[in-house]
Each structure stands twice: as C-alpha cells, then as structure tokens.
C-alpha cells in the first residue's frame, strides 16, 4: 500500500527526516514510536504532501504510484487520510460544513457526530477553541466522513479522557477493520494505517502488525510493535539509538 524509500525531508532550513524507509502493506497497521521532536508528525505530514515539508531525496510510493510530488488533494483522492496533531483553526467554517463537503454530501453530519458524542460541536468553527481531546474527536469525525483507505493517525489517544477513549478506540477499530476480525480477510478487505503513539494505549483497540522507532529524524529500529513498546517503556529511547549505532557498525 505505502512504500517510503530513502526519504530525506527539510522543514524551514532543518532536516527533520533523514534517509527514512518503511513499508505499510495492504490491510496492515504500522506504529511509529519516537521521542518528542524525532520527526514522527513530519513524516505523516510529508506523506500527506503539506508544502512546508520539502522532499530533498527519496520517494513515496502509494498503491504503486509515485506520489512524492503530488498535490495534497490528489493524495486525498487516492485514499490517504490524516488525523493531524495540530490542525489549524478554520474561523467561519463550521464543523457541519466541513463534514458535509468532506463526505461529498454522502454522510449526514448529525448522525456521524452522534457516534462520537460531538453533536454540539457541529455549529462550532472547526478547531476554534477546541480542547485537545475535542480536536482528536473532530479529526476522527472528519476521517470517518472522508472514508480513506490509508489512515494516518497522529497520537489519536493523546488528550482524550478515559470515557471518550473507549469511543475513539472503538471507532478507529471499526474504521480500520470495517468489522472484519479474521486476520486473513483483514489483509485483503481492511484498511491500512500508520499510527503514532507515545503510550501505546491505542494498541488495545487495533491490531498493529509492525512498529518503527524514529530518533532524531532517523529510523532507529523496527520490529514487533508490542515488543518495541515494552523495550521503550523499560529502557527508554537511548537504547534504540545505541542499538542502531551498533547495527551500523
């Protein structure tokens, strides 16, 4: 589904991603770990095609097509969807309208909002004055309206209260699996995802197939996501960096 080859990316005058490669196979979910500022969000934003992120080297291949320099909306049309960590305020644009245009009129914003207990936000301007958890839920609603086949979720659980996390987690699971639980069928029928998490809480809801650790813009490690999480919990990220250095030598 998604293949990233030797990607080097600059923001402002700073290299935030250096020679990154990763693959997310069809129907599978990969998880991105890494300390603050390691470049996780930058990677998702680059895949989405946001213009602040200048690709200096490497390629992004989606469904066999090179999308490295494709405009943002065409990527969205191919089925890439992003839950952003810090989406901008849209003053004067109500969430209801955003959901309506995002679903191209196919979904009823009212019904959609009910699933995440967001009805009272429909008349609010998108993101304006939204709390951290509200932003996550609004982003998720928009993704549900958009119905992509490749989900990029930037810390979907962070800031979400204990009660809502159940709703958010369940909704993400439903969006990704479309109700399919069998692993074999999931590979062919389910959606693919690339998910950033610090706590790993979201892993209680979704099946993650592969994990990656980003450190200082470089891919430090990859492997079984639960094992990686355990390592990080126990030994912190230092270990990953060292580990990578060891491998390099």
């Amino acid at each position: 589904m998604l293949e990233i080859k030797n990607l080097t990316v600059e923001v402002g005058n700073r290299r935030v991603l250096k020679d990154i490669s990763l693959t997310v196979p069809s129907g599978s979910t990969s998880v991105l770990f890494g300390p603050n500022g390691s470049g996780k969000s930058s990677l998702l934003n680059t895949i989405m095609g946001l213009s602040n992120y200048r690709v200096l080297e490497g390629q992004i291949i989606f469904d066999g097509e090179d999308i490295t320099h494709m405009p943002v909306h065409e990527r969205a049309k191919l089925g890439i969807g992003l839950m952003s960590q810090r989406p901008p305020n849209l003053v004067g644009v109500q969430l209801r309208d955003m959901l309506r245009v995002t679903s191209r009129g196919k979904r009823d914003p009212g019904k959609l909002a009910e699933t995440l207990n967001m009805k009272r936000f429909l008349d609010r301007d998108v993101n304006v004055g939204f709390s951290g958890g509200e932003i996550k839920r609004s982003e998720l609603l928009q993704l549900a309206a958009q119905n992509p086949c490749f989900y990029m979720l930037d810390e979907p659980e962070s800031g979400v209260d204990l009660e809502s996390i159940e709703r958010v987690g369940t909704m993400i699971r439903d969006l990704l699996t479309g109700g399919v639980t069998c692993a074999g069928r999931r590979a062919t029928e389910g959606k693919s995802a690339l998910v950033i998490t610090h706590t790993g809480q979201i892993l209680d809801y979704i099946e993650a197939d592969r994990g990656y650790v980003l450190c200082d813009g470089m891919m430090a490690c990859s492997g079984n996501p639960r094992e990686l999480l355990r390592e990080i919990r126990n030994n912190g990220y230092e270990e990953c960096v060292d580990c990578r250095l060891v491998k390099q030598k």
């Binding site: 989405m48 095609g49 946001l50 213009s51 602040n52 405009p71 943002v72 909306h73 990527r75 969205a76 049309k77 969807g81 992003l82 952003s84 989406p87 901008p88 305020n89 849209l90 003053v91 004067g92 644009v93 309208d97 955003m98 245009v101 995002t102 191209r104 301007d125 928009q142 309206a145 958009q146």
Partner: protein, 401 residues
C-alpha cells in the same frame, strides 16, 4: 438652503475619487408605476433578485421599488408601518421637514447637493409607536439605463418602542454599464426602538456609488447596519455615521466587502457616542481579488461609561489587490473603553492544505475559507437574511483572484 446646495454643486467630497457628474443625465422621472412588483419587466425582476429583493414579496412585510428617478412599485401589507415615496410623505406629513436634511447636509459635497436639488424620490418608512414589524420591509434602488445619474433620498423613522428590519438592494439592470448612484439616507431610531438595516449592492463594472447616511439613535434604542458588496463596481465611497445621542443607545456596523479587479471601494463606518452608557461595535471583513479597498472605522467617545470596539480584517487574494485598514479611535473624556483590532494578510496556506487533505481542490478550499471569513461579518444579522447573503457569497466568484 437651496443657495447653499447650489454653491456646493462643484464641491468635491473629502474621500474617494471625484466623479464628473456632467457625464450623466438625470434619471428618468416618469417611468409609470405598476400595481405589483411582479408586473415589473423581466429584466427589472432579474436585477432585483441579484440584490436579494424578492419580486413575489414573499417573506417581506412590504416593498418599494425605485427605478432611475421614479418610484415604480409599492406594496404595503399592514398598518403597523407607513411605506411610500418620500415626496408623497413630505406632502402627507408637514412635520417630516424636521427630519429631512437634518442628518445629512445638502452642501456636504456635490453628491448631496445634486440630490437635494433634484427633488429626489426615495423611500419613506415609518414604524408606528410600539409596533414590531415582523418580516423585513424590502426596498430596491435600481438603475435601469446607461449614463444615468440616480438620486434618491430615503428617510426611516422607527417610533418609540417599535422595531423594524429593512433590506435594501441596490442594483443595476443588465446592460447598464456606466452610471452613478447617489443615495441620501436619514434614519431615526426613537426611544427603545430598534432598526436593522441591511444593504446589498450589486452594481456593474463602470458604476460609481456615493451613499451618504446619517443615523440618530435615542435612549435605549439600537441600530444595526449590515452592508454587503461582493460584485463588480467602479467606485464606492461611503461613510455612514450613527449619532448615539441617547442613554444606553447601541449601534453595530457589519460590513462584508469584496473588491473585484477594477473596483475602488472606500468604505467606512462611524459612531459618535455622546449618550451616557452607549455602545458601538464596528466589524468589517474585506477581501480583494484585484481591486482596492479601504476600510475606515471611526469611533468617537464623548460621554461617560461608553464602550466601543472596532474590528477590521482584510484578506488579499492573488497579488494585484490593495487592502487598507484605517481604524480611528477618538476619546474626549477619560471614562471610556474603546478598542480596536485590525489585521491584513493573505489566506493561510496551512488552512488551505488542511481542507485539501480532505479531498477538496485548492480553489474549493480557498472558497470555503473566504466564505467563512466573510460570514463572520454577517453573523449578527437576522437568520432569514443570512441565508440569502450566504447564497450571494456562495455565488460570488471568490476562488482565486
């Protein structure tokens, strides 16, 4: 008075480019009146629709249409208010002379002088004491022929404790490329009264527009002014002034303007707060897609306990247009609270890309942001009008300049 006006016929206005009035001939005064709006010719009705004036009169309490310098249609549905040509009103009410040319001076500039001397038509609307006129009254000021100088003189009186909404569409008929519209408006909102006045402009590429408006607001009365101009025009210069003479009187100005290529808009709103405890708010949202737009706002504080705020935001689309914000605060005593915010800029790229990441094209995303930006300017206006203005905004070609 006449002499003063005659002496002012060449007097240039303080603001806006000078328009040579000799190029234009006086608007026709003898266009026959028809008995209902729907009997007006097709092209007239088509023009009305473009300025949110409903030819069927549906959803409107009453209607009055002026074409060039003639009143051509009028309908009155109730006796809660009076609605007629201002000249007829002057004949009917002797006392009206105490209201005419009191808030706008005939010799203010050549445009007021020309209108004074033209014995101009116009609408006279009076909400009777204590009456709450439910639906809006609509008026339409139409320019129907090339090179016309239209002059109108309007008077609205909201008597004590009454409330009234007026929607005015100012528009030129198809094929009228060059003309000038001069409109004098004098509004009186008496004790405890409320007037909401919404003006929608839809002119053509070579039309000059010079409205002159004064509003007097008494104790506990309020005045809301909404002005929407989204379509092509050559030049507009206007600076309506609300005189908040009453205790706890209120004025609010909302302006939504788009300067299309070739347009020169000089738009202002002023509130003079001389009543104790009076409040005023000026909100403007303007956008240039290639034209020039000046947003002026002036708040003058002359009484204790007043509160006034001015908020002016401008967007520049493309790289041709000019957007100028000139906010002014003026306090004559210490006990006032007066603030302003002004900002100008282009559309934020991160917002455009955010919407694009949901699958919309760049033009669609820009359109959405611009619509949202402008809509903030009309947030306070009555729902039924908002829907129509929303429609106008949606129809205006607001994508990239």
């Amino acid at each position: 008075m006449r002499k003063r006006a005659e002496a002012a016929l060449e007097k240039k206005a303080a603001l806006g480019e000078d328009i040579d009035l000799s190029k234009f001939r006086e608007g026709a005064r003898d266009i026959p009146e028809v008995s209902s709006l729907e009997e007006l010719p097709e092209r007239t009705r088509e023009a009305m629709l473009r300025a949110s004036v409903v030819p069927s009169g549906e959803g409107r309490e009453g209607s009055l249409v002026i074409l060039d310098n003639s009143m051509v249609a009028r309908s009155v549905a109730s006796d809660a208010y009076e609605l007629m040509d201002v000249r007829a009103a002057m004949q009917k009410h002797d006392w009206l002379k105490d209201y005419a040319w009191k808030l706008v001076q005939p010799d203010a500039d050549k445009y007021t002088a020309s209108t004074y001397l033209a014995d101009a038509p116009g609408y006279f609307i009076r909400a009777l004491p204590g009456q709450h006129v439910k639906m809006p009254i609509q008026t339409c000021l139409l320019v129907g022929s090339q090179n016309t100088a239209q002059t109108v003189h309007n008077i609205i009186i909201v008597e004590e404790g009454a409330s009234l909404e007026v929607v005015t569409g100012c528009v030129s008929e198809g094929g009228v490329e060059e003309a000038i519209h001069m409109g004098i408006s004098e509004f009186y909102v008496k004790k405890g009264g409320k007037l909401t006045f919404t003006m929608i402009h839809n002119w053509a590429e070579q039309i000059g527009v010079r409205p002159r408006t004064g509003v007097l607001v008494e104790d506990n009365a309020s005045y809301i002014n909404n002005y929407v101009i989204l379509k092509k025009v050559r030049t507009v210069q206007t600076y309506p002034t609300a005189h908040l003479v009453g205790r706890n009187s209120v004025a609010q100005f909302n302006t939504v303007a788009v300067a299309q290529p070739g347009a020169d808009l000089d738009l202002g709103s002023r509130a003079v707060l001389s009543g104790v405890g009076s409040r005023a708010e000026i909100i403007s949202r303007s956008l240039t897609t290639g034209g020039r737009v000046v947003n002026r706002g002036s708040l003058v504080g002359k009484a204790a306990d007043i509160k006034a705020h001015l908020e002016c935001r401008g967007l520049i689309l493309g790289d041709k247009g000019v957007n100028i914000a000139i906010p002014e605060l003026e306090a004559h005593i210490p006990d006032v609270e007066m603030t302003h915010e002004a900002s100008l800029g282009k559309i934020a790229k991160d917002q455009v890309e955010y919407i694009m990441s949901r699958g919309l094209t760049e033009d669609e995303a820009v359109g959405m942001i611009v619509r949202g930006f402008l809509e903030v300017g009309i947030r306070n206006i009555p729902e039924e009008l908002k829907a129509e203005i929303d429609k106008t905004i949606a129809q205006a070609e607001l994508a990239k300049g």
